[in-house]
């Protein structure tokens, strides 16, 4: 099984700055972490590889600093990592991101399985997985919580829905997004760290991917963020004043008024 895991670097802090020109996150100069949901995707990819053989390739679209995160991926079991990085990719919405990732996956040759986290911590859209599946013309299952079986080109898995779990059989190749219930990601190993230190991580630019520049980055984005703001906090609670007895009485009145008692 050749597996591609898509991972992303996200701000490791809530103190993020917004570029006033583009209304997108300023990603330079802040502490970054690997998107937590992606760590489950990577762990599952490595576990499938350990069970069925094959290779795990991690890819990420991002600024050059994302290389460090890709090295961490190698330390926990990925065989190779590729960084998609080009100023032309900057400011991409989910559509342009999915397009870029899909082209990279095609360039790698058709893998048997593509795994992503359910969503990222910064954008929170959960759209890149399904969009990529659509562009690659592959079946897609979201919110996978367990892989039950892999056999002869099919995969049986559990998908988390609000009321419980669906059991789905999907032909491979396919695209999955996974939830955190699927596994507990491992810590790096010393041998993995040694491997990651010496690993060569190729950087693929727009030219190397052979993509249409109008389809990537800000110019390839179908959406524009026109404003980012923090919602105003509304305090709806009420603090009752006065003596204990009068407070109890007025609380009972209010509960009656609201027809709670």
């Amino acid at each position: 099984m050749n597996i591609v895991v898509c991972i992303k670097q996200v701000p490791g802090t809530t103190k993020v700055k917004i570029d006033p020109q583009t209304n997108t996150l300023v990603r330079e100069g802040i502490e970054n972490i690997v998107n937590p949901f992606d760590t489950y995707a990577l762990e599952e990819g490595v576990r499938i590889k350990e069970r069925c053989g094959g290779e795990v390739t991690t890819i990420s679209m991002g600024p050059p600093q994302a290389e460090e995160m890709l090295r961490e991926a190698i330390a926990v079991g990925a065989d190779q990592a590729i960084l998609l990085s080009d100023t032309a990719f900057a400011g991409a919405d989910t559509l342009a991101t999915s397009y870029t990732l899909a082209r990279a996956i095609e360039k790698l040759g058709q893998p048997d399985l593509i795994i992503c986290g359910r969503q990222t911590l910064d954008g929170d859209t959960g759209q890149v997985g399904p969009e990529m599946a659509e562009m690659l013309g592959l079946p897609f299952v979201a919110y996978v919580s367990k892989i039950e079986d892999i056999d002869r080109g099919y995969m049986r898995l559990q998908r988390m829905i609000e009321e419980g779990h669906e059991v789905i059989e999907v032909p491979l190749p396919a695209v999955l997004t996974v939830v955190k219930e699927i596994n507990t990601p491992r810590l790096p190993s010393l041998r993995g760290l040694a491997r990651s230190k010496s690993a060569v991580i190729p950087i693929w630019t727009a030219q190397e991917l052979g993509v249409d520049k109008n389809m990537v980055g800000l110019s390839g984005s179908a959406t524009r963020v026109i404003n980012i703001f923090f919602p105003q906090r509304v305090h709806r609670g009420e603090i009752l004043q006065g003596e204990l007895e009068s407070r109890v009485e007025s609380l009972i009145d209010k509960l009656r008024e609201a027809k709670i008692i």
Partner: protein, 385 residues
């Protein structure tokens, strides 16, 4: 402080700390309370290659020495000494094999120890033989196909949990210490069973148990080295492992110091955090200074051993004595700084204080080791060095 560690050593230390904080910290109170062997953590340590650290590369290890082992033990002990000693005991049980084992024995056992698939243990102590290790009674009599072991070992760390035991037994009773030999005994060997599991003051996550040998036939090829060298082998092995106990003590003291500083910064009395009180400041300053001194002595002893020095009894003993006395003092002072809550099990320092005591006792009591240090001093003077 700059410790002049190599990149590899820094990586080992960092990863050990991460395992300790992410995987041990959330369960340490429960492990202590339930006296439960930390198999889950052992698996994490194995997956992260921590058992490979002290094994040569030819046998699936990473080829580290005493210092690398100390770095791991220190970081694990900073969070839980019970877990740290379970890890370290596997190294202790492996040392005789590393130094005196045949190529065949190494090929058979070391790869599984390196991968963490099997734990090792070392068995010397008996009811009548503690500090006086030469008073052991467990006998290994020649029998067809090997040696027949009879006797009971006491207080064996990793007892019951380990699969590979290095056992010291007498092949020639009449020769006393010169009649001792070392044997590899696998769990499951007929005639080998486990006795009582001790209920301990500290390091409660670790397993301390009796090993019982009743007509236990150990195959001839399982002797380590040759007959009669068991005792001298043990003395050398303990010299090599003592900085590890020192590292355990340094980790404990470091953990207690950090907890005390955190608490002193947040605990408000008389309108100020207690860290603004000079009496508390001086206690913390002394603790920090002593921990640093202990660490440097442990690292220096470990480096001396790794440099290939022939005799390092004195250095190893000094590191163990100083670091364990430091751990006892520092953890006691940490409880003092916490005051009443420090005495309660809701806070981690009472556990650290309980855990610290054993470091002054095992692998050579600090009194016996002071004897050893003094003996080296006298020897040098006699030789006019």
């Amino acid at each position: 402080m700059e410790y002049f560690l190599t990149e590899q050593q820094k990586t080992i230390k960092r990863l050990a700390r991460r395992i300790a904080e992410e995987r041990i910290l959330p369960v340490r109170a429960e492990l202590d309370e339930k006296e439960e062997f930390p198999w889950v953590v052992m698996k994490d340590l194995a997956d992260s290659d921590m058992f490979r650290v002290f094994i040569p590369e030819d046998y699936g290890g990473l080829g580290g020495g005493c210092l690398e082992l100390c770095l791991v033990v220190e970081e694990l002990s900073r969070v839980c000494s019970g877990v740290a000693v379970s890890y370290a005991a596997s190294a202790l049980g492996t040392f005789p094999l590393l130094e005196y084992g045949t190529e065949e024995q190494k090929r058979k056992y070391l790869p599984d120890i390196a991968s963490g698939k099997r734990l090792a243990a070392f068995a010397l102590t008996e009811a009548t033989a503690g500090s006086d290790a030469s008073a052991i009674k467990t006998a290994a009599e020649r029998a067809p196909g090997g040696y027949m072991l009879n006797g009971t070992k006491q207080f064996i760390t990793n007892g019951g949990e380990a699969e590979i035991y290095t056992v010291i037994a007498l092949t020639a009773k009449e020769r006393g210490a010169r009649g001792a030999s070392a044997f590899l005994v696998e769990k499951g060997t007929p005639g080998f069973s486990f006795g009582r599991k001790e209920k301990k003051m500290g390091i409660r996550a670790s397993s301390t148990r009796e090993l019982i040998f009743r007509d236990c036939l150990v195959p001839e090829e399982n002797i380590i080295g040759r007959e009669g060298v068991g005792f001298i082998m043990t003395m050398r092995l303990l010299d090599r492992s003592r900085p590890g106990v020192g590292a355990q003590a340094v980790g404990l003291a470091q953990g207690a110091l950090e907890a005390a500083v955190d608490y002193a910064r947040t605990r408000v009395q008389f309108g100020h955090p207690i860290i603004s009180i000079q009496a508390v400041q001086h206690m913390l300053a002394n603790m920090a200074t002593e921990v640093e001194a202990a660490r440097l002595l442990v690292y220096a002893a470990a480096k001396t051993i790794d440099s290939g020095a022939k005799n390092f009894t004195e250095e190893a003993a000094m590191a163990k004595v100083f670091a364990s006395d430091t751990a006892m003092r520092v953890t006691t002072d940490a409880v003092q700084i916490f005051g009443g809550v420090g005495y309660m099990r809701d806070y981690p320092v009472e556990k650290m204080m309980r855990d610290a005591k054993i470091t002054q006792i095992y692998e050579g009591s600090n009194q016996v080791l002071r004897d050893a240090i003094a003996f080296e001093l006298r020897k040098r003077k006699a030789r006019r060095e």
